[in-house]
Structure formats: C-alpha cells, structure tokens
C-alpha cells in the first residue's frame, strides 16, 4: 500500500518538538547497527567513519543526529555542523525507505534537501539502494 500524502499537523509538530530527539535518534542508530550486524546493510564503514549526519524531519520539527566510527553508528548531540544534512517531510522519508520514490525524484521536486558533503550523501544513498530486502523479513513491505 503506497504511503498516502500527508504532512504532520502543526499540533503534532508542537507536541513532538517538546520531546527530546534522543529516543528517535537512538532507535535509528540501533536499527542501522542491527542491519549492519546482520549484513543486510553492507556498509563500508571506512567511508563513513568520523562523519556526522543530521536527518531533519521537517514536518515533525525533529532533527536526528548521529555519527559513525570504524565499526558502528552512535547517537550524537552536538551543535557542530554535520558532514551531511538530509531534510524532508516524514511521508517522503517513508517513501524513500519503502522504495516508493527515488531520492533524485524528490530532489528534482525540491522535497528532499541535501546539504554538506554531497559525495557522502551519494555513498549513503547508494548504500541504502543496495540493500536487498528480499533477503530479510522486511521484504513484504518493499514494493518493486
């Protein structure tokens, strides 16, 4: 079932903004580490090591920041400029993750913002694209 068009309503945004960003960031980092451990995510950590990432969910008013070392991903809470900053609404991030839309399409229509190290962005994008969900229990969520 395709992700419907939605934008988080402003009351949801106000509510979400009161929450600390750490739990969602922790969930994201934990998921990435699990996927990597099970070799679903074939990350070449030497390309990501020492880099910091910010994923901004615009309609939620939420920015998840995390970093990577040689082995795994970590949550991170600093005010430094991240090496890579991705920004989009929640529905579009979901569409990207579920492979309903490709990032170039979202970029062309200005629904995905990419700032910072563009090559790092490309590495992350291609890493996510290369995940073969057919080999995981999540395959039934993925569209072809």
């Amino acid at each position: 079932m395709p992700v419907p068009d939605f934008t988080l309503p402003s009351f949801g945004r106000r509510w979400l903004q009161r929450l600390p960003a750490t739990p969602p960031a922790w969930l994201l980092v934990h998921s990435l580490n699990q996927l990597q451990k099970r070799q679903v995510l074939a990350a070449d950590m030497s390309l990501l090591s020492g880099k910091t990432f910010a994923v901004e969910i615009c309609d939620a008013g939420l920015t998840l920041t995390f970093s990577a070392d040689d082995e795994r991903f970590h949550t991170r809470n600093t005010s430094n400029t991240p090496d890579l900053h991705l920004a989009a609404n929640l529905a579009d991030f979901l569409r990207l993750m579920l492979r309903e839309e490709d990032p170039d399409t979202l970029f062309f229509s200005r629904r995905l913002r990419i700032e910072g190290d563009t090559e790092l962005g490309l590495i992350v994008k291609n890493l996510l694209d290369s995940v073969d969900w057919d080999s995981t229990p999540l395959r039934r969520f993925m569209q072809h």
Binding site: D44, L47, R99, E100, E101, D102, P103, D104, T105, F107, F108, S109, R110, R113, I114, E115, D117, T118, E119, G121, L122, I123, V124, K125, N126, L127, D129, S130, V131, D132, W133, D134, Q143, H144
Partner: protein, 335 residues
C-alpha cells in the same frame, strides 16, 4: 503483432537489477565498481559477487545482462579496462558496451565470441562509422547518440546490418555525447576520462535563505527559487548571464521521453530501446520499466492506433529531471 524492440534498463545495484527484470525489462545493463564505466559513483555498481548473482537472476528468467565498459582507457594505463573486459567474458554477460576503439580491438581479438555493442559514448552518428566498427571489430549493435532526428535514425537503419539501439527515456545530456568537455572544464574530470560527470565531491547545495544555490567546484551554476524544480548539477543545465539575461543557455533540465513516437520507432525497425539512469534508485527503475513495458506491448498490438495512456506519461514525468519531458532531437524541426 509487430516484433518488439528489446527494452534495455539500467541497474546500479542488485535491487535495481531485480526491479528491472521483475517489471519487464528484456535486458539490463550494469557496470563494475571503478572508472571503466560512465557512472563511476561512490557506492554504486557491481563487484564480481553481485554481478554473478544478477546474471543468475536474469538468466533464470530468460533475460539478458549487458556490461558497460564505456569510458576511454588512458594511455599507458589500460590494464583496468582490459581486466574489465576479461571479467565480463568470464562472468558470461550477453554483450559488452564499448566506446574506445582500442578496447573494441582488444575484446574482438581476445574474446572472439563476446558480443560487442558500440556505446553511445562512441559517438557514431552515421552509418559509415557504424559499418566501419562492424567490419573492424564485428560490432553487432550500435547505440545512437541522442542527436539524430527520427528520419536520420531511419536513414542509418536502412544502410547498415548492425542492430540499432536508441534512447527511449532518461536525463538528456547536451548532445555532443562522447565529446563533451564541460565537466572537465569545471572539475578536471569527465565521463570519458573518470566515468563521472560533475563528480559529487565538487558539488555543493546551499540554502541561501530564499532558495538553493548549486555550486560545482565553487562555481555558482544555478540558483533555484524556493518552489522551482531542480536538475542535476551539471554545467550544461546551469543558468548563466548572457547579454543581461540570466537563463538556461545550453540546455534545460529535462528528460527524453519517446512514448509519443513509439509506433514510429517500431516501424523504423530499431532493435532496442534504452532507458538512462544507472545512478537512480530501484524505485525509479521499477516505475520507468513498468510504464515502458506496458507502452511497448500496447504499441506492438495496436500499431498506428496506439495512444499514450495518461498513467504512463504521469509515471515518467514524475521521475524526470526538472519534472519536464521532451522528444529531444527526434523531432527537432531544424537540421
């Protein structure tokens, strides 16, 4: 029913390859993880293991896999390119797509049974060039650069026994394919030399408060308003000031889309229709392949009564660069 041209779709990763096959591609084309192909992007493309798996996936479903080795080997440093050809032969791909004459000669001599396609980067726009490639190297198919009108495509086909492949959908380039120097001018690297146009490490997108600036090696190449659609960060698609006006000077960001002239292409006798976009995600490959598969089948059944379904047009427009489509050179009024 007319014999249909093959639908050739791009694969930058194993999931993209599967998406192409599952949605009706007759063949996919892919490249190795190095500068021997023109989409040498970080994290994209295939190694031996994923290529083997992809070829098995395609073959089990009776589809083909072509390998693009379509950059130019550097003088004194051609080992990587020769190794790529040897690897393609060892993997058992159905054909290699080459541009460099030296590599065509190498493949022809070393692997006489390996099928050779002349890449669009080879820039062969007339039948004499194509027939020469056939007589010298046994080239069996040529991919035409996107510079010819439909009449010129017909003329080429009428004068050669080499199969002709044309582009059907995807981002357009400035149409001096295989000869463009713009990326080299700004960054010192180009598709022909390094396998990448506007290498990502030279690209920066910055929020300027009112919209977004696109810079290539610090050169401001475009400034998008908050709601303006964007394109790839290439010089050819930038906006520049000429005689007091700032606008697209070389080309607008847009994608080629031949849906409207599929019956004419079928009548012309093209052997294959190619989709651009190995750099794109599996979602793009799935959407474009599905639309073109349906459209091709429909065109084969209905001939001149063919009409373009809005759903196909919509699917293709959505994923287009700058969200615009064009028939490109196929129907340009000037010669």
């Amino acid at each position: 029913m007319q014999r249909l041209p093959e639908l050739i779709c791009p694969a930058g990763s194993l999931p993209a390859l599967k998406a192409a096959i599952d949605n009706g591609a007759d063949a996919v084309y892919l490249g190795l993880k190095n500068d021997t192909n023109a989409r040498n992007f970080a994290g994209l493309n295939f190694d031996h293991r994923s290529a083997s798996e992809g070829i098995r996936y395609a073959r089990d479903r009776k589809r083909k896999v072509l390998m693009a080795i379509n950059t130019y080997a550097r003088g004194g440093d051609s080992l990587r390119w020769r190794a790529a050809i040897d690897e393609a032969a060892a993997l058992g791909v159905d054909a290699v797509i080459l541009a460099d004459l030296g590599l065509l000669a190498y493949a022809h001599e070393r692997h006489p049974s390996l099928r050779l396609h002349l890449s669009v980067q080879g820039s062969a726009t007339n039948y004499e060039a194509i027939n020469l490639a056939q007589s010298l190297f046994g080239v069996q198919r040529a991919v035409l650069p996107r510079v010819l009108t439909l009449d010129q495509v017909r003329h080429v086909i009428a004068n050669t026994s080499v199969e002709i492949e044309v582009f059907g959908f995807g981002s357009l380039c400035v149409m001096v394919e295989g000869r463009c120097l713009l990326s080299s001018y700004a960054t010192g690297e180009s598709p022909n030399s390094h396998g990448v146009c506007s290498p990502a490490r030279f690209v920066r997108w910055e929020d300027n408060g009112k919209g977004m600036d696109a810079r290539l090696n610090h050169i401001l190449i475009d400034r998008y308003g908050a709601s303006e659609t964007a394109g790839y960060p290439t010089l050819c698609k930038g906006r520049f000031e000429v005689e007091g006006h700032t606008d697209y000077v070389l080309e607008q960001p847009s994608s080629l889309n031949v849906l409207a002239m599929l019956p004419q292409l079928l009548d012309a006798g093209v052997a294959a229709i190619k989709v651009e976009g190995r750099q794109r995600s599996p979602a793009y490959v799935a959407q474009v392949t599905r639309a073109l598969r349906e459209a091709l089948d429909q065109a084969g059944q209905t001939g001149q009564r063919f009409s373009v379904k809005p759903a196909w047009q919509q699917a293709l427009s959505k994923v287009s660069e700058g969200q615009q489509v064009t028939l490109g050179a196929y129907d340009r009024p000037w010669k």
